[in-house]
């Protein structure tokens, strides 16, 4: 079943074409990787899917529903969320509260019941607190739950961002270079977290430069270069695609 479909999407900034008529789709339960050299338009694609930018032309469909034109928080409400290439941890909160914030769209307490501390809002808050602990345990951060999030080292902040996104129980999770800046060992751990997420039913769109991670994880790979889609297929096919090798992996070196 098709979960997300991008149809001939274009986006330019001034005279610069960032995405040029790209189409692809993500199947339910799949890990789809979006790769390409710097400036290929991957992050722009993320920003269009999540509603930060509006496309110049083309559409995005999620579960057969047109979502281009929606605000980012509305798109999150439908079950699409993301992590950021340059971490966007809420440093003014504890680790646990970051994850509790991830439950925002799944909880209901409004300003008045919160202010008056009504029993329903307290109950919801307690449940949320417990669940946040569970999500932190899944990425191995349970023991740091009550520390200021700014205290975590870089790698753990990445995991925290993923835990926060997991808390939203998304149908589709967009990961923007989750392995960037991680040492090899931590990258392997991260891969396990991502695979577990997929097995729990979350579909994933992954932007990643680390080819080993991409080849380990992806069911389907979309390759972009200068805004255009130049190839699509499984890891084996992409590794042999001459255009991809030329644009991305380097002309001589085919085993990267």
């Amino acid at each position: 079943m098709t979960l997300l479909e991008v149809r001939s999407l274009s986006k330019s900034f001034g005279g610069v074409v960032a995405v040029a008529g790209v189409s692809f789709s993500i199947q339910q339960g799949q890990i789809c990787a979006l790769i390409g050299p710097n400036g290929a338009g991957k992050t722009t694609m993320f920003n269009v899917i999540t509603g930060i930018y509006q496309p110049d032309s083309g559409q995005v469909y999620f579960e057969d529903r047109l979502i281009s034109g929606f605000k980012p928080h509305q798109i999150a409400g439908l079950g699409i969320t993301r992590t950021f290439q340059n971490l966007q941890i809420f440093e003014n909160m504890t680790v646990r509260e970051n994850v509790m914030l991830g439950r925002h769209v799944l909880t209901k307490t409004g300003l008045f019941s919160a202010a008056l501390g009504l029993p329903a809002s307290r109950r919801e808050n307690r449940a949320c607190r417990r669940l946040a602990g569970d999500f932190l345990a899944q990425v191995g951060l349970a023991d740091r739950a009550d520390e200021p999030s700014a205290n975590l080292p870089f790698g753990q902040q990445r995991l925290l961002e993923i835990a926060r996104a997991m808390a939203l129980e998304p149908k589709l999770l967009l990961l923007d270079e989750p392995a960037a800046g991680l040492p090899g060992g931590e990258t392997r751990e991260l891969e396990q977290v991502i695979l577990r997420l997929r097995d729990q039913g979350t579909s994933i769109l992954l932007v990643e430069h680390d080819m080993e991670t991409v080849m380990n994880l992806a069911d389907n790979i979309v390759v972009m270069d200068f805004g255009y889609k130049i190839a699509e297929g499984g890891p084996a096919k992409i590794q042999k695609d001459p255009q991809v090798l030329k644009a991305y992996l380097g002309e001589e070196d085919s085993d990267a």
């Binding site: 999540t50 509603g51 930060i52 605000k71 980012p72 928080h73 999150a76 409400g77 969320t81 993301r82 950021f84 966007q88 941890i89 809420f90 440093e91 003014n92 909160m93 504890t94 509260e97 509790m100 914030l101 991830g102 439950r103 925002h104 769209v105 909880t107 307490t109 409004g110 300003l111 919160a114 202010a115 008056l116 501390g117 809002s121 307290r122 919801e124 808050n125 307690r126 949320c128 607190r129 009550d146 520390e147 200021p148 999030s149 700014a150 926060r164 996104a165 939203l168």
Partner: protein, 347 residues
């Protein structure tokens, strides 16, 4: 987190409100001079406004340089409705708050789209306009000479017409404001507000409707300020525009920052320090420098505030608490702890 720190935090979280309430209750037994009580009434009224400003600035990260306007709208609303229309003072307080909420809502929709300096300027402009209305709309506001004969608040047989009864009334209102605010801060809404402060992009990506929450907290903040203004009117029983101008807006921000903007208890500290420091310097400077004029007080005031801000940019309340909580970390790094460490409930 060490057991010791958990225990210390739990201690302070229960002890602080209890001790404060007790000392407020008992204080008039030791000193019930009109001077002390009326100073405390003012500290209470300013604290309500400053807490409302902290919700907006410290938690949601939205600045307002026009809060004296909301404070003034409460004061004038109460005055006009009781003096000109003979409305019951409590109803007038509620009606003024409702009207202020409506104005804040209408102003908030366009201005909260602005960020940082631009928002500061827009709210500043709003404050100036409201002040001009207070001074120029003579038929309603009495112009520069203002309105007098504002009735006292009363509950059944009890009329709040002296410093002692008003002291208890105002501080009950302050404690209730703190109760509501700390509930908000520790709730889903509070987290959404702090997320907006941290990163609007990330907050939106997690499903937080940033525009809606900014507007909600702006309106709530205006309501608190308006109620504080009504309490001012019914205490002084006559008003004129001068306490509701730009200067007062800045003073509220100053009190908030000195106490610590990302804190619900900070405002009490900030307001008290600013008020006592002003008084203290007024008495002290002439003793130290017999020939100095009033400007020396301002210079000293400015110097002391600068020193506080240099060494405790997170405000006095949080600054002192964080150092007490973890002195070692404070010798090493100066990053402020998240406010919530002090305020979250550990249920």
């Amino acid at each position: 987190m060490s057991q010791d720190r958990v225990r210390r935090r739990r201690f302070i979280k229960t002890a602080f409100p209890v001790l404060l309430t007790l000392s407020l209750l008992l204080l008039p037994l030791f000193n019930d001079s009109s001077y002390v009580l009326s100073t405390l009434v003012f500290i209470g009224i300013y604290s309500i406004v400053t807490i409302s400003l902290c919700l907006l600035m410290g938690y949601a990260g939205q600045i307002s340089l026009g809060h004296a306007a909301f404070y003034g709208m409460g004061a004038y609303g109460s005055a006009i409705l009781t003096v000109k229309f003979g409305l019951n003072p409590w109803l007038a307080l509620l009606a003024a708050a409702a009207f202020t909420a409506l104005v804040a809502w209408a102003i908030g929709i366009p201005t909260l789209k602005l960020k940082e300096h631009y928002l500061a300027l827009a709210t500043l402009g709003f404050g100036v306009i409201v002040y001009i209305i207070f001074t120029q709309e003579t038929a309603w506001t009495g112009g520069p000479s203002g309105l007098s004969g504002i009735p006292y608040l009363s509950l059944g047989q009890l009329t709040f017409n002296n410093d002692l009864s008003y002291y208890y009334l105002v501080w009950a209102a302050v404690l209730f404001t703190i109760y509501l605010s700390s509930n908000i801060v520790n709730s889903r809404i509070g987290r959404a507000l702090r997320a907006i402060h941290g990163s609007e992009t990330a907050a939106e990506a997690m499903g937080v409707n940033t525009a809606a929450y900014k507007l909600q907290i702006f309106v709530l903040s205006a309501i608190f300020a308006s109620i504080a203004g009504s309490l001012y009117s019914h205490y002084i029983t006559m008003i004129n525009p001068s306490p509701f101008g730009f200067r007062m807006s800045i003073e509220f921000v100053l009190m908030a920052v000195v106490g610590g903007i990302a804190s619900i208890w900070g405002p009490l500290v900030g307001v008290s320090v600013v008020i006592f420091l002003t008084q203290l310097l007024r008495d002290l400077i002439p003793l130290l420098l017999p020939n100095a004029g009033g400007e020396m007080e301002l210079v000293a005031f400015g110097l002391i505030l600068s020193v506080i801000m240099i060494f405790m940019p997170e405000g006095l309340f949080r600054g002192l608490m964080d150092r007490w909580d973890n002195p070692v970390r404070y010798r090493k790094a100066k990053a402020p702890l998240p406010s919530s460490l002090w305020e979250e409930d550990e249920s």
